[in-house]
């Protein structure tokens, strides 16, 4: 039993040291909202105090209430009875606690009953919820759906739906995947037809792997333009649960047992258009997915944190050869690497959420002002944050979810034989972590999303600023090493550019993204160490571990080796 915020010094460091003043000042309309909404902050200090208090509260709810229920929820899970999904009573308790704590509309605007918090603080909550119960994040995180309605719905839709999301009365689902459309959403087939007389829309078809498919409110991606086959024929719809929307089955999954993953059948389900026709995939789902990718990064990090804490505790208590096992080099090496990965992922994630927050603020600003009122500075910022968030989001998702799997895997390993047993939590964490690098776009797709920004050197300006900080001694030396690594990355990028071979670029993309991630995170670790000297060993360890990995990746990139492309068939089919 503990408080998941106050027992986590790294998460507290992240909150204390992230500067959200620009974000909060823009979100709170220069604190004008405080005149209309008595709970809204009246200055940045006030807002920061709110964030801290809210995170302490959610730290307690997740640590004291939700975590103790997690094992039973995992073992028993939800059931489907007569077409109705019944959540586990403890999952219901979890949702009641989160609703009572008032965190079901964290980012929603004040006027719809939300807290109007930035994504950064919301993601910190996501992390703690996931640490307590990995599967619960999938229900907590569905408030992203109300975010999408808030962003793209009509005023009338916002008024109708958002206040009820904020109070927790409505829950949501996003219905995208179909049996034949997983990664390739452009091929979605679910049919949306409009009654020519009434103008009303109806949905017919199937969806699969729908998280919380039993929700009251669904955002559905459907084909509204008959005869089309690509993404431009898709629109976004809102529908409510009704007899025509049938939950056919719930999946029997490897992990995240607490949440129902449903197969849905649409038998002429009445629906309404959300946003503009034909923008379903190209604009709204991409936005929804980007939000969800950040959330899943937070989920992965939370599960990894849980796995680490459990392994650390076990290694301290378990005695073999007359000594606790954390005294053995093989074990403390594993624990050290796990911890470094966690810290690195966290600093990357919250740098990402900050860029996501800034992008949203400046995008809103540019969209709500007339072009004549916009200064060049605001336009430039909007463009920059848009590009930075677009490369950082997939980078963070790939890194956080991959290290979560590694940390959870090592967590089982540290437990030895007991780690393989259901009686210990370690195996649950490894099962729950496993989905994170698959859904909302596999790691392989995150690489595809990130490589463009890497090739264009989008993050170079940020890294230039970071490497120009005034470092001394150890940190200065580490900074220099990172500078050399960035030289290698530039050479690698140049090599691939000049090779002009799309397949080769796709093949080595993961190595380039790895290099970029390590170098960027290395700079963030150094910046953090500058603020707190206790973090110097963390930064040092990270850079020292990263250098050989970067060098190896570089060698592969510039090898120009074509054997995988030329011979993979012979190898695979041998």
């Amino acid at each position: 039993m503990s408080n998941f915020f106050t027992d986590n010094p790294d998460l507290q460091f992240a909150l204390e040291n992230i500067d959200l003043e620009e974000v909060v000042t823009l979100r709170e309309r220069n604190y004008d909202f405080s005149k209309k909404f008595p709970h809204a902050p009246s200055n940045y200090e006030d807002a920061k105090d709110n964030f801290r208090r809210a995170l302490i509260e959610i730290g307690e709810v997740t640590g004291e209430r939700i975590e103790p229920r997690a094992r039973t929820v995992d073992e028993e899970g939800p059931v489907l009875k007569d077409g109705v999904v019944i959540y586990h009573p403890l999952t219901v308790d979890n949702m009641n606690d989160l609703t009572n704590a008032g965190v079901m509309g964290v980012m929603l605007p004040h006027k719809y009953g939300g807290l109007n918090f930035p994504n950064t603080v919301y993601t910190m909550m996501t992390e703690m919820v996931s640490r307590a119960d990995g599967s619960l994040q999938n229900l907590f995180g569905l408030q992203d759906i109300s975010e999408t309605i808030s962003e793209f719905g009509s005023d009338e839709q916002k008024k109708r739906y958002l206040p009820r999301f904020a109070t927790g009365e409505y829950d949501g689902a996003m219905d995208l995947t179909e049996p034949d459309s997983g990664s390739d959403l452009q091929s979605v087939r679910l049919k949306a037809t409009q009654d020519p007389k009434t103008g009303k829309w109806y949905l017919d078809g199937m969806k699969r792997f729908i998280t919380n498919g039993c929700a009251k409110i669904h955002l559905v991606l459907a084909r509204s333009e008959e005869g089309t086959t690509d993404g431009r024929g898709l629109s976004m719809f809102i529908c409510e649960s009704c007899p025509e929307l049938v939950v056919r089955r719930i999946e029997h999954k490897h992990g995240i047992h607490g949440v129902a993953t449903c197969e849905l059948q649409y038998n002429h389900v009445p629906a309404e258009l959300c946003g503009i026709r034909k923008r379903g995939l190209t604009k709204y789902v991409m936005s929804l997915m980007n939000g969800a990718r950040v959330a899943i990064s937070g989920q992965a990090l939370g599960i990894a944190q849980a796995a680490y804490v459990e392994a650390r505790k076990y290694a301290r208590e378990r005695e073999q050869f007359k000594s606790s096992i954390d005294k053995f080099p093989a074990v403390y090496d594993m624990l050290t690497r796990m911890k470094i990965k966690l810290i690195a992922a966290r600093t990357l994630l919250y740098e990402t959420t900050k860029m996501v927050d800034l992008r949203q603020c400046y995008t809103r600003l540019t969209e709500s002002s007339s072009p004549a009122d916009l200064s060049q500075e605001i336009r430039d910022k909007q463009k920059f944050y848009n590009k930075a968030a677009a490369v950082l989001t997939p980078m963070a998702k790939a890194y956080c979810t991959e290290i979560a799997n590694e940390v959870a895997y090592d967590g089982v390993q540290i437990h030895g034989g007991t780690g393989f047993m259901h009686d210990f939590n370690a195996e649950r964490f490894s099962r729950d972590a496993r989905i994170t690098n698959i859904y909302e776009g596999t790691t392989q797709l995150q690489i595809v999303a990130a490589i463009g920004g890497v090739m264009l050197r989008t993050l170079d300006t940020m890294m230039d600023d970071l490497s120009a900080l005034s470092y001394e001694g150890l940190l200065a030396r580490l900074n220099k090493r990172l500078g050399k690594m960035r030289e290698l990355l530039r050479k690698g990028v140049k090599f691939v550019h000049e090779k002009r071979d799309g397949e080769y670029q796709a093949l080595v993309a993961r190595h380039l993204v790895t290099m970029e991630t390590y170098i960027f995170v290395g700079h963030l670790m150094l910046k953090d160490a500058l603020k707190d000297s206790e973090r110097e060993p963390l930064a040092e360890q990270f850079v020292v571990n990263a250098v050989p990995e970067i060098e190896t990746a570089y060698k592969i990139v510039v090898s120009g080796d074509m054997t995988t492309i030329d011979k993979h068939k012979d190898i695979i089919d041998y």
């Binding site: 008595p38 709970h39 709110n50 809210a54 509260e57 709810v61 606690d97 009572n100 704590a101 008032g102």
Partner: protein, 298 residues
């Protein structure tokens, strides 16, 4: 119809999560090692009050008697759903036993005037007497139901409650107004983040004046203006003294407390040697034999 429900709560030293030595060598309580918390069963009483508010509509007033910093439990009540709060604070209240405390609370209830229900936690974890609630009911000459788990029905004139008894429960009914002491039978809800953002700014007069004196700035007129503003937006924690509630000075605080503490003993529990019993038939038999010899069993 809307009800008025008063919940009396207490700030207590946390006797469950002790961070150091609970007692000083001289036998007095070491406050520094015991963080001040919301008395656990008072949270159950507050939760019941909030549930009644949700079910029937009620104004929920939370009161406490204590030093100025006891305002913290009142803010915590606001974070969960209280509507108004009252802090009874006065040097004259200090050193009160259960008799003097219940007298002071009865004066406070009379000052509030009309109410339908008073809820108290069954007992506080510092004194463990379970006397204040029942004494308060006697002083107000209203019926009391102790050990309440839940309210089954509340009507204009009566309340039907389920109370815990040894080995089960019973359902009892009484006319309003009434007092109920509540046991740990519900799960007190967490604080609400939006309410935290709002009510963290709630202040007592002492706190407001302190903010001014800390800033080396005292201006009676400005103080009054700020107080009025806070009242207007529901951010005022009413602070009442002994004379504000018309309490007889002879009946409150140390003076009004016939309980005399003769001696406090610091009992230090030391761990004794433990004994390993073989997990065999013979081992268990020898343990049984020893326990019977000891008169622990049989």
């Amino acid at each position: 119809m809307s009800y008025t429900v008063i919940v009396f709560v207490k700030q207590v030293p946390d006797t469950q999560n002790i961070t150091g030595e609970a007692m000083k060598p001289d036998g007095t309580v070491n406050r520094a090692a015991l963080p001040a918390i919301f008395n656990p069963e008072d949270l159950n009483a507050l939760e019941l009050g909030i549930q009644l508010k949700e079910r029937y509509g009620a104004k929920l007033i939370v009161g406490t008697m204590g030093p100025p910093n006891a305002a913290e439990v009142l803010r915590e009540s606001l974070y969960r759903g209280a509507d108004e709060t009252i802090l009874l604070t006065d040097r004259a209240f200090a050193g009160a036993d259960t008799l003097a405390t219940s007298y002071a609370l009865s004066c406070c209830a009379k000052k509030i005037g009309k109410f339908d229900l008073i809820l108290c936690g069954r007992q506080a974890i510092d004194g463990d007497t379970a006397q204040v609630g029942p004494q308060l009911a006697e002083k107000l000459k209203i019926p009391q139901v102790s050990y309440v788990e839940n309210v089954e029905e509340l009507t204009k004139k009566r309340v039907r409650a389920r109370r815990s008894i040894e080995g089960g429960f019973e359902v009892v009914e009484c006319p309003l107004p009434a007092l109920m002491t509540v046991v740990e039978a519900n799960d007190p809800r967490p604080s609400n983040v939006k309410k935290i953002m709002l009510y963290k700014k709630a202040k007592t007069r002492t706190e407001l004046s302190k903010a001014h004196s800390d800033a080396n700035y005292t201006d009676a007129e400005l103080l009054k203006e700020e107080e009025d503003n806070l009242r207007k937006v529901g951010l005022w924690i009413e602070e009442l003294s002994a004379s504000d509630i018309g309490a007889d000075v002879e009946r409150i605080g140390l003076k009004g407390s016939p309980t005399k503490v003769k001696n406090i003993q610091s009992v230090v529990l030391t761990g004794a040697d433990f004994k390993v019993v073989d997990p065999t038939e013979a081992g268990v038999n020898s343990l049984m034999h020893e326990l019977i010899e000891d008169h622990t069993l049989g």
